[in-house]
Symmetry: C2
Subunit: 250 residues, 2 copies
Amino acid sequence: MRSDAAPARVWVPEVPACGALIDPGPDARHYLERVCRAREGESVTLTDGRGRVAVARVTRDGGRLALAVGRVEDLPAPAPRVLLCGAPEGERADWMVEKLAELGVTTLIPVDTARARWERFERRAQRFERLALAALRQSLGAHRMEIGRPTPLGEACAALPAGGTRWLAEPSGARADARRAALPGWYGVVGPAAGLDEAERASCIACGFAPISLADSRLRTETAALCMAALWAACADRGAEVAGETGRGA
Amino acid sequence: MRSDAAPARVWVPEVPACGALIDPGPDARHYLERVCRAREGESVTLTDGRGRVAVARVTRDGGRLALAVGRVEDLPAPAPRVLLCGAPEGERADWMVEKLAELGVTTLIPVDTARARWERFERRAQRFERLALAALRQSLGAHRMEIGRPTPLGEACAALPAGGTRWLAEPSGARADARRAALPGWYGVVGPAAGLDEAERASCIACGFAPISLADSRLRTETAALCMAALWAACADRGAEVAGETGRGA
């Protein structure tokens, strides 16, 4: 581990109590020993991906790498950033999942639409979960992106809590203007490769989703999803500032 | 081709004159016949990726698909969006190239740094070019992303034209604030997976690059590059509006 690098982050199903000495399990051990080259005495961070994190020190227990757990902390959940996303083409969902998780999307809901369904979701669910966990580790996050099961678009829209900023990705929409955002909470709909049909589009708009354009060019499903997540990430935690500016009459 | 879809776009090395009847070549023919299922009489768009576009009609010439070229137009080059990017890990450069091209980055300059070089660039250059062309087709663009050869970071910075908004991706930087952008021209530096060293960072800052943070989480090289391109895309062509607002004392 480079001395200027942030402590390695390890996912554990449950964060143990302060003072515990734990075996992090084969995957985390491999990651710490082979990928991070963590040495005795170095600090690592444990997280359960549900907001609990602990500082731990690398040590040995019977010759094997073990972790001595120190301070444990519970971090508040971030404001929701929920993406309802149609099926991308081919294998493109893999890296989309990884990137959305890295960028701090809190919930990805795969949506089935008239023109495309998430056909191969069941086979890929475990892989998606692994990608989301790897992204948590990489991004030094404490909250793991939740991945829903494929849900019909209308049903997914109806299940969202009220409020928040709601964007429907659409090439002919208005420019995305994060400045006017009414925080907290971001909700987005991105259609599948073949697009939403007219009825689906109308029903999203009826649910409060504003058609917005993310770029001058036509974007693939996964690129539009990533753009939305990037704009949300760039605006996160600026709610007060933005609201304040709006309050001054902008 | 769905009737509500935009005309298919085809890259050709040179856009022929209005009135010409051309054989678009095997790749474009395959794309039009097999991927787009283009039928006789349908319109397609030709572009050379350097700003020249033509409307063409699908027809037959001796039984084979041919294109009858109509109106030819030269489109102005967009404001530069130039990304100097360190080497991402493994195969991650492939999709980074595709996504940056889709999002309208005008020039990608792979930069070699103290901690990482674009070692396998030569073997992959042709693949990168194909990905950039496919993205041009997909995004319905008229200007193909240029991909430079790997260049030492300092040399690449020194070769940039003066002016424009200059961002250095850095987790500890200020929030990216596209609202304050002095257009035209966006220039960005994203370090390799292992980061820039202190001397490189200082030299970027001396070249006018402002350290900016793109997200709360730590991002991989290719994710940071994509975030920057997404923010540029979201702000493109709003130069006048932004400048006007700044002029009103914001």
